[in-house]
């Protein structure tokens, strides 16, 4: 493997990993839940939330602050002229979505999430599963130990608060 900058790994990359685990996994499940209920309007809204969160990953890896705040996420995507927000401005009405469009969008977002995951320098376990939760906690502790060794303070989790 190529050398990694340990400071980047424990700051921007850790932000992105936590964001992926805590914000993106659940948002993809929300889309599936809405599709299963036949609610394609909500599936569109959930897809927009997921698309914005996935898009944010690449910006976080380039030092944008992670956030759960809709206004800050919008500001980041707007400032960066992100294609996801451009596409939202061009998309059909939420109420015009169909099962086919919702399923296709979910597939695209799973691919986009996998691509975002591949930008990280390590594997992030799927946290929202019984088998993935404790490995995720273990990885978080390993990150914390490396941060301490580098002289960094404890990781700030507050951006996950709504």
């Amino acid at each position: 493997m190529k050398a990694l900058n340990a400071y980047w790994v424990t700051t921007d990359a850790m932000d992105a990993a936590v964001y992926l685990a805590m914000r993106i996994e659940g948002s993809l499940e929300d889309i599936q839940g809405a599709i299963d209920d036949g609610d394609f309007t909500s599936a569109f809204e959930c897809s927009t939330i997921a698309a914005n969160a996935i898009a944010l990953i690449s910006h976080i890896l380039s030092s944008a602050p992670p956030s759960s705040d809709e206004v800050l996420i919008l500001a980041t995507l707007a400032y960066e002229d992100d294609d996801v927000l451009v596409a939202y401005g061009e998309a059909d009405r939420a109420t015009k979505q169909t099962r086919a469009s919702a399923v296709a969008r979910l597939a695209e977002l799973h691919d986009a999430a996998a691509a975002a995951r591949s930008l990280l320098p390590f594997d992030v376990p799927h946290m929202r599963t019984p088998e993935g939760f404790f490995p995720t906690v273990r990885v978080a502790k390993e990150f914390e130990r490396l941060r301490a060794r580098l002289g960094l303070s404890a990781f700030g989790w507050s951006f996950l608060e709504v």
Binding site: G33, D37, E45, P65, L72, A75, A78, Y79, G89, R93
Partner: protein, 317 residues
Amino acid sequence: MTTTLHSALGKVGATPVALRDLLGSLLDAGDAYLVGSLAAGYGTGMSDIDVHIFDASVESHGAPMMFFLGRTIVDVVYFDPTEPSALSASLSKDLMRLPHGPCSLGATRSRKTLARLGRWATAIPLQGSPQPVLDQSMWEATIATSTRGAVADVVLLAAVAELAEAAGRATAPGAWRQAGRSVLEVASRASGEVFVGRKWTWTKAAAVGLDDALVEGADDVRTAGHLARVLDRVGLSALDPAGLVTLRRNQVDEIAIANRRLALVDGRRLVDARLACSGRLKDVVSSIGPADALAAIAYGVVWAQVDDNALTDWIGG
């Protein structure tokens, strides 16, 4: 339709007995409630089960614990039992009527507080504690407070959209659309659907029966003019977001490296010192331009906050 504990948990294939068995001794003291999207009647088969327990004997109030019931996540958070009554008592009763319902003229509450209000307003007792979490005599103030929070969000999202447009960003129509969609939240909350969560916007709009012209108009917003037309439908006048928003500086240290002035944000992020601004958004834009004002928000140099007095004037206007 009234949501019962049984019907709420049934959406994720769970039962009250199975949940009580999972939580076991955690339910021995205090009052436990199902909260969140399932309790509010909006959940899907993929939703988490959220539980709040009000117990004075526990020290770790606010710290979440995660369990699994089958493959469904169960999040449990403890709270001090005095918190709901204190929150209810702190709500302003000063309000005005918008077409869909009340809107507070008191201070805008934080999103965290509004999320908590929404959860507690729709909580369902897990066992033997049938009293509502929140003071029911404050129900109108609860709705009004939640509505005001939604109005503030419209202003903030519109401010971002306006900056994006003024900065010539191709993202501006998408940003205006997001601001437009958030107007539905104003109407839904004013109508009594105070549970907070963007993903439930359309479910709530349908639940309260918002008319098609409002719903479609909100989703069609791509410009400030479109937004003004939708705001008119919820009883709000044309919006000047830059006059209603103030930028507050986060922890920023100004430094110089090789004759370049920089601002160190959050102890780790370096940006041009020009972005270390503060004050009324209108004045900041005049000073550094819309693109840098947008960058200052995006990079966390500042946070955007609605000016409460100006917001009240606008709502009342």
